[in-house]
């Protein structure tokens, strides 16, 4: 069996981090992904919540260690040392709160400074509210981000739309980055 096949057969463990402002739905996304459930009530995260989930990407089994970091606000700043050893991160913002995009982009900058050029995706959560008057994100700004090479995905932890795809996509990116999968 070739080296490549050996790599593909072994279960890989990858650490990823959820980053974003408070109350954008990071924990809800993780709960939706790991346990397939959603609770409407907001429960703030203190410190870090660690969950695990196994998935398969193009026949490669991966065990994700998901670090759900407390949302950033005036009292809680990103402890960049939590990013140690992470293979990728998900930047989460809330489509009804323009400020959360600003926070996510600032955290992206901090993460870049600490971890370098690793895989990430930017997600706009609460997409189930997209057609309501509460939806506030500036589409032009998002288009500009996409044009700059940032992959923007839309999710709803409430309905589950787009959630699995985000983790699949990030995992695929990480595997490609580490040459486990061919770049496509």
């Amino acid at each position: 069996m070739s080296d490549v096949n050996n790599k593909v057969n072994a279960v890989l463990q990858k650490k990823i981090c959820m980053l974003g402002a408070f109350s954008v739905g990071k924990s809800s996304l993780v709960t939706r992904y790991v346990e397939s459930i959603f609770g409407d009530k907001y429960h703030t995260t203190v410190g870090v919540k660690i969950s695990k989930k196994e998935l398969t990407v193009e026949e490669q089994e991966v065990k994700l260690i998901i670090w759900d970091l407390a949302g950033q606000d005036d009292l809680t700043r990103l402890r960049t040392s939590y990013l140690r050893g992470t293979s990728g991160y998900i930047l989460v913002c809330d489509g009804t709160r323009p400020f959360s995009l600003k926070v996510a982009l600032n955290m992206h900058k901090e993460a870049r400074e600490y971890s370098g050029d690793i895989s990430f995706v930017l997600i706009i959560n609460k997409f189930d509210l997209q057609s309501s008057t509460d939806w506030e994100l500036d589409q032009e700004q998002l288009s500009a981000l996409e044009a700059s090479g940032i992959e923007v995905l839309y999710t709803s932890a409430k309905t589950g739309d787009g959630v699995d795809e985000v983790f699949q996509k990030l995992t695929k990116k990480m595997l490609q980055e580490h040459n486990v999968l061919e770049n496509t």
Binding site: S23, H43, V46, D74, L75, R79, R84, E136
Partner: protein
């Protein structure tokens, strides 16, 4: 380490580990109940525990802990809280502390229990309030934008009314506003103030509404007496616009009053000089002259841009603020894009200034 300390560890429901010579963690306390959910059956005092496999969080923290141990500092270094889940899904809020005791490297893990939930509850209250504040700010911003749109509509209606009597086209006034806004942004003004200038600059000639048709629409040269009447339009405009408390219209009043003032003090109506002339008016003066020169009027042909700029360069220091003129020249490509997008009389396309 003293027996008292071990006793204390046992009482506090914490797990303490000593880093042995093989860089393995040896449990030096009794195994607290919560630890039993994570470790193999039979783990107890003296057992070697592979912490990194059990608590992924410690992968990260142990690297920090080694710094503490290598520095032999006795000041405890705390990891901050983390929540881990047992294989059965039960959650435990934990915190690790690295400390050097009597030269030994010790890692203490504590079940935070209620302390964690109390802190979470405190933070939850703070964040609920912060969310409410954010919602209110969004609502206020939306209402402010709505008011602003209405103000702009009023201003544009006034402008349209005055435009019916003048030969200036809607495109001309729109261009003046856009040129001025572009320069204001280059000066680092905040976007709202720059947007105010877009409207205010466009209204610079609104006072012409008070000039008799016989003078305003006269095809030939004005007599001295007629010119004196014409010179009243800045003050008429300012008087019209000054009667409100709307910042946009107050800025427009300033622009109207001072757009015929000159840098060297030879302008009218007040003969203001240099920076005595409000910057909004100084900007408007430059872009108004530029646009008038490069476009055709009933009484003159359009100048080429090169000719216009040559003429304008001769007016620097007399008519124009030198620094602003320099900025204008530097941003000529932006001005050209505005000219193209709002050319006369073809259909316009959308651009960003």
């Amino acid at each position: 380490m003293s027996k008292i300390l071990y006793g204390l560890y046992d009482m506090m429901n914490i797990a303490a580990f000593r880093l042995n010579q093989d860089d393995q963690f040896e449990l030096i306390t009794l195994s607290p109940t919560w630890l039993k959910h994570f470790t193999p059956v039979g783990t107890n005092k003296g057992s070697i525990v592979h912490l990194d496999g059990i608590f992924p969080f410690l992968d990260c923290f142990v690297a920090e802990a080694f710094e503490v141990w290598e520095a032999q500092t006795e000041t405890p270094h705390r990891s901050g809280p983390w929540v881990d889940f047992t294989p059965e899904g039960e959650e435990f809020p934990l915190e690790a502390t690295a400390v050097c005791i009597d030269g030994e490297c010790v890692l203490v893990i504590q079940d935070l229990g209620e302390e964690y939930y109390t802190e979470a509850s405190r933070l939850q209250t703070f964040r609920d309030q912060a969310l409410e504040k954010e919602r209110l700010e969004i609502a206020i911003t939306e209402q402010t934008q709505q008011i602003r749109r209405r103000e702009e509509e009023i201003a544009m209606t006034l402008l349209a009314a005055s435009g019916h009597r003048d030969h200036e086209t809607a495109e001309h006034v729109r261009r003046i506003g856009l040129y001025a806004e572009a320069l204001a942004k280059e000066l680092g003004w905040d976007l709202e103030k720059a947007a105010d200038l877009r409207i205010a600059a466009a209204m610079h000639d609104i006072g012409k509404i008070g000039i008799p048709d016989s003078i305003l629409l006269k095809p030939g040269k004005l007599t001295q007496e007629e010119f004196e009447i014409m010179k009243g339009h800045p003050a008429i405009g300012a008087d019209m616009l000054n009667k409100t408390r709307i910042p946009l219209l107050n800025m427009a009043a300033q622009v109207s009053l001072c757009h015929h003032e000159r840098w060297d003090g030879t302008g009218y109506p007040k003969g203001l000089k240099g920076e005595e002339i409000p910057i909004e008016a100084r900007i408007t003066t430059i872009v108004d002259v530029y646009d008038a020169l490069v476009h055709k009027r009933v009484y003159k042909k359009a100048s080429s841009e090169q000719a216009a700029l040559k003429l304008m360069a001769q007016m620097v220091g007399k008519h124009f603020d030198p620094a602003l003129f320099q900025l204008f020249v530097k941003n000529l490509p932006k001005m050209q894009r505005i000219r193209q997008a709002y050319s006369e009389p073809t259909r316009r396309t959308t651009i960003s200034a």
